[in-house]
Amino acid sequence: MIEQLRNQKGYPKRIAFLILLLNPIATMLKIKELHARVEEKEILKGIDLDIKPGEVHAIMGPNGSGKSTLASVLAGREDFEVTSGSVEYMGQDLLEMEPEERAREGVFLAFQYPVEIPGVSTTNFLKTALNQVRQHKGKDPLDAVAFLKRMKEKMKLVEIDQSLLSRSLNEGFSGGEKKRNEIFQMAMLEPTLAILDETDSGLDIDALRIVANGVNALRNQDNATIVVTHYQRLLDYIVPDFVHVLYNGRIVKSGSKELALELEDKGYDWIKATADAAI
């Protein structure tokens, strides 16, 4: 079979994919018994989750269930202390990595509340980020022309305007513009694992469609996406392979995309009742 592949065009890509399929590290992200707290309050109480390349996982749950905490812990935010458990990412111990290292290794977080950085344009910000990521991978920095070309290409994906990118990062942006900017950055950085933290909150239906189209266009066999959301609505546009329901710091139910619909139909009280009964 290898011989057969070798004779074909695009052999290296295929073989890489094959290795990924056959290898035990085919799981991109492996979360085991993850516990985390902020100050004295335990928020994650034992999360288990496996994510493979090419998959989209939706994490749903009522307010305060720990969805955003999970996203923050994966990105390496210091406010949260991991008390036990492990997270393996591409065969490495994710929890041992600095936040910027995780980012450079392809972990991307689309923030629920993107921060404003006055005086720094999105363009300048992204150029700095992209070139640091490239440097980490032993690549030369992109020159101005190549960078601009890439920007133009990705701008189309999220229907974002050039003028917005010249303005101070997120300063005076509408809610929708901020979220679109997050997805634009994601497109530019081409992450391996993208975590969208409530990207749908505050979006009208048109913005939601644009953001979702962007995310879908970026999906491929080598990357994976975690969509954290409160509502099923976003999942009409970004169709997940798996849906997990987080409640009280644990994943209490997992299923296919139909679970999201069922949840929409029955409400979170249904989950709460079931979960609380189990205790």
């Binding site: 210091e78 980012a103 977080l109 910000f125 640091q132 950085l189």
Partner: protein, 481 residues
């Protein structure tokens, strides 16, 4: 320890990059200040009698003054008798070209990143380099001379253009204006002189690099810029000083004179040695800078990036005498460790329809104290005067201080004066956002600070803006582990 605290801790570990000393023989005045010192300086410079008398008058006035105490800075008492007031590099002949200049001296400039030869060839910037107290090389003079522009050292101007010097010296900053200007008037050693004739637009940025080198030598620069009717000039001043244990006194005076329809743009990047992380050493920088918009429709614009000095005491000001004249002040002041800065401006509106704009950005880190002090004064006949002031403070950590002292005096009811002030901290959120995109902490801080200062940095001429950005990054280098 939070992120901010870490930045703070590490901040203190970055070393001063320009701390090296050149071994060049000095010819110095004896320590201390008395009439003989002043006579020595004046004689060394072969000055005319009137200037010696002018100095002596300033000296005797200085003796009657007391060091000011109203500022928000504190430092050990300065022993004015323990200072060397004049130090000149020994050179037998005046250099006619760069080839004749002491190679070690040129090397010093090179290490500072100011290769004169390179500048001469490539940048089109005429540089009048002040090494300690005497100008060592002046470039582009011929080209400027063809336009009638005079750009030379102050001493040279005294020799070559005494009538101009005599007419304007002390006309904007009188000898007795304040304690430090009186001191400077008595003992000033050298500086720059610039004269732009009527209707001439200076075709290049004029640039001076100041540098303090000798131990215990105070440096007393004096700069005079005269822009005649309808002329324009942009002047750049950059400073670095090598590392010293003893505090060094720096008391400069800058005077700008803008005639009718003239415009002067004065930019400074100040990077004197700030002292070590425990507050030992560093420059005491007491500077009097003032410009007068003497003619109608004239304009003076000050831009400063202050990152150095242990103590900064500096208020570049504008006297808006001509009708419709404009004064601007754009400032970035960064303090770290034990640095103290008390800086700002004065806008004195005298003429009708005069306008002024103040944009001040303070960045404090470590246990430093950073104060903005500004005065907007509108006189009785200044109909329709307008001022807009914006004072922003950025705090890094919780052990530093930022203070704003705005003074407003309006004697004309048609005046419009606006003042805005904000105080913010570099947020952990902002830093985390950068980290999450793969930008390391050091670059994140530099990015955020540069963004915060952008409005001011944009005012700097291109080549200076790049240097200033690098300087901000350098100041922040090693600030995170």
């Amino acid at each position: 320890m939070s992120k901010d605290d870490q930045i703070l801790e590490e901040f203190t570990q970055s070393d001063y990059k320009y701390g090296f000393e050149s071994n060049i023989e000095q010819e110095s005045a004896p320590k201390g200040l008395n009439e003989d010192t002043i006579r020595f300086i004046s004689a060394k410079k072969e000055e005319p009698e009137w200037l010696l008398e002018w100095r002596l008058k300033a000296y005797y006035h200085w003796l009657t003054l007391k060091e000011p105490t109203w500022h928000n800075v504190s430092f050990p008492e300065i022993d004015y008798q323990d200072i060397i007031y004049y130090a000149a590099p020994k050179q037998k002949v005046t250099p006619k070209s760069l080839d004749e200049v002491d190679p070690e001296l040129l090397d010093t400039f090179k290490r500072l990143g100011i290769s004169l030869e390179e500048q001469k060839r490539l940048t089109g910037v005429a540089v009048d380099a002040v090494f300690d107290s005497v100008s060592v090389a002046t470039t582009f003079k011929d080209k400027l001379a063809k336009l009638g522009i005079i750009f030379c050292s102050f001493s040279e101007a005294v020799q070559e253009h005494p009538e101009l010097v005599r007419k304007y010296i002390g006309s904007v900053v009188p000898q007795g204006d304040n304690y430090f200007s009186a001191l400077n008037s008595a003992v000033f050693s050298d500086g720059s002189f610039c004269y732009i004739p009527k209707g001439v637009r200076c075709p290049m940025e004029l640039s001076t690099y100041f540098r303090i080198n000798a131990a215990n030598s105070g440096q007393f620069e004096r700069t005079l810029i005269i822009a005649e009717e309808g002329s324009y000039v942009s002047y750049l001043e950059g400073c670095t000083a090598p590392m010293r244990d003893e505090n060094q006194l720096h008391a400069a005076v800058v005077e700008l004179y803008a005639a009718k329809d003239a415009e002067i743009k004065y930019s400074t990047v100040q990077n004197w040695y700030p002292g070590d992380k425990d507050g030992k050493g560093g420059i005491y920088n007491f500077v009097t800078k003032r410009g007068i918009c003497a003619g109608d429709n004239s304009k003076i614009s000050w831009t400063q990036v202050e990152t150095g000095s242990a103590v900064t005491w500096k208020y570049p000001s504008c006297i808006l005498k001509g009708d419709n004249s404009i004064g601007e002040f754009y400032s970035v002041a960064v303090t770290n460790n034990h640095q103290q800065a008390d800086t700002g401006t004065k806008m004195i509106h005298i003429g009708k329809n005069t306008r002024s704009r103040i944009v001040s950005k303070g960045v404090s880190a470590g246990v430093s104290q950073n104060s903005y002090r500004g005065l907007v004064k509108v006189l009785k006949r200044a109909e329709n005067a307008r001022n807009f002031s914006q004072c922003d403070s950025l705090l890094m950590g919780d052990r530093c201080g930022a203070h704003t002292f705005p003074y407003i005096e309006s004697n004309n009811s048609s005046a419009q004066i606006e003042h805005e002030a904000t105080t913010s901290k570099i947020g952990e959120d902002q830093i985390f956002y950068c980290l999450q995109r793969g930008i390391d902490e050091e670059d994140a801080v530099a990015l955020i600070v540069n963004g915060y200062c952008k409005e001011v940095l944009n005012q700097l001429p291109m080549e200076f803006a790049v240097e200033a950005q690098k300087l901000l990054a350098l100041t922040l280098e090693g600030s995170v582990g």
